[in-house]
């Protein structure tokens, strides 16, 4: 009579394998919403930022300029980029991103950058 439980175990293990194969065939999760905002706003045309695959050198490398900064500072750097420009004078970054993005988009972009630069 011990044969029956053994047979049941074999059947159960075969069923588990089927479930695993199905899980592997699931589509990959969609990308970061912050990356979509980054791409839509053309941030990568000026800034280097490794998580976004950007290598441009017109503006500062965000890994360097925003590393360790707070999320509030990052937000301010996007919506009011001339508020804290080193060396005085105005920067070349457009200052109209607050008008060009929704609050949700801006939040997603700040989160994306903050996670990429390990903000405080």
């Amino acid at each position: 009579m011990r044969v029956v439980p053994a047979l049941l175990a074999v059947v159960a293990l075969t069923a588990c394998g089927d479930e695993e194969a199905e899980r592997r065939s699931q589509p990959a999760p969609k990308g970061d919403p912050g990356l979509k905002v980054w791409a839509a706003q053309g941030c990568g045309s000026c800034h280097s930022f490794a998580p976004a695959g950007s290598t441009a050198t017109i503006g500062p490398n965000l890994g360097n300029s925003l590393g360790g900064r707070s999320r509030d500072y990052i937000r301010q750097s996007i919506v009011a980029p001339n508020a804290d420009v080193g060396g005085g004078g105005g920067g070349i970054m457009p200052d109209n991103f607050a008008k060009r993005t929704t609050t949700a988009e801006l939040d997603a972009l700040v989160k994306f950058i903050a996670e990429g630069v390990r903000a405080r």
Binding site: V11, A15, G31, K36, G42, S45, P51, A52, G53
Partner: protein
């Protein structure tokens, strides 16, 4: 004349700088190819703004895809008629990891780059059907078990009817 000959090399040297004196342009994408399948069209609109502000409408931008082997394919973006807007249809012919780069046609020396994207297989639901657990592969095991149970049962029944003779 001698002065002209001195100035000419200087002009040639400064020509590239003069060409980019208009500054830079930002290129925004209406979507990314994230989640796309091989061969599926990626219809994307480019917004090109000089200094991130002024739409630029007289350019010839293109999107270049690069596969894992480094092979490049160029897709030209066409003007849409709206200021600074261009439309392109890009296809990644095979599944796998791809890179894509956007040349704005204004400052091609510095293209806009993006993270690599994983293009999925072209068949929407090509999950390999696993064999039915109680189908052909499991059948010999089940049959063997039934046969074994039958044999044991038969042996027990016969033993009960004809107990082995005891030695005196």
């Amino acid at each position: 004349m001698r002065r002209c000959l001195l100035i000419l090399p200087l002009l040639l040297l400064t020509a590239p700088a003069v060409a980019h004196a208009g500054g830079f342009a930002t290129t925004g994408l209406s979507s990314t190819p994230d989640g796309l399948r091989a061969g599926e069209p990626w219809k994307v609109e480019l917004t090109i703004l000089q200094h991130g502000r002024t739409p630029m409408s007289e350019l010839s931008p293109e999107i270049v895809t690069v596969n894992a082997d480094g092979n490049r394919t160029s897709f030209r973006a066409k003007r849409t008629g709206r200021p600074g807007r261009y439309a392109a249809t890009v296809r990644f012919p095979k599944a796998g990891q791809w890179r894509y780069v956007v040349y704005d046609g204004f400052n091609n020396a510095m293209p806009t780059t993006f993270p690599a994207v994983l293009i999925r297989s072209d068949a929407p639901t090509t999950t390999v059907r696993q064999p039915d657990p109680v189908g052909p592969p499991a059948l010999p095991i089940v049959a063997g078990g039934v046969l074994l149970l039958g044999t044991v049962g038969l042996w027990l029944t016969r033993r009960r009817r004809h107990p082995p003779a005891r030695l005196a």
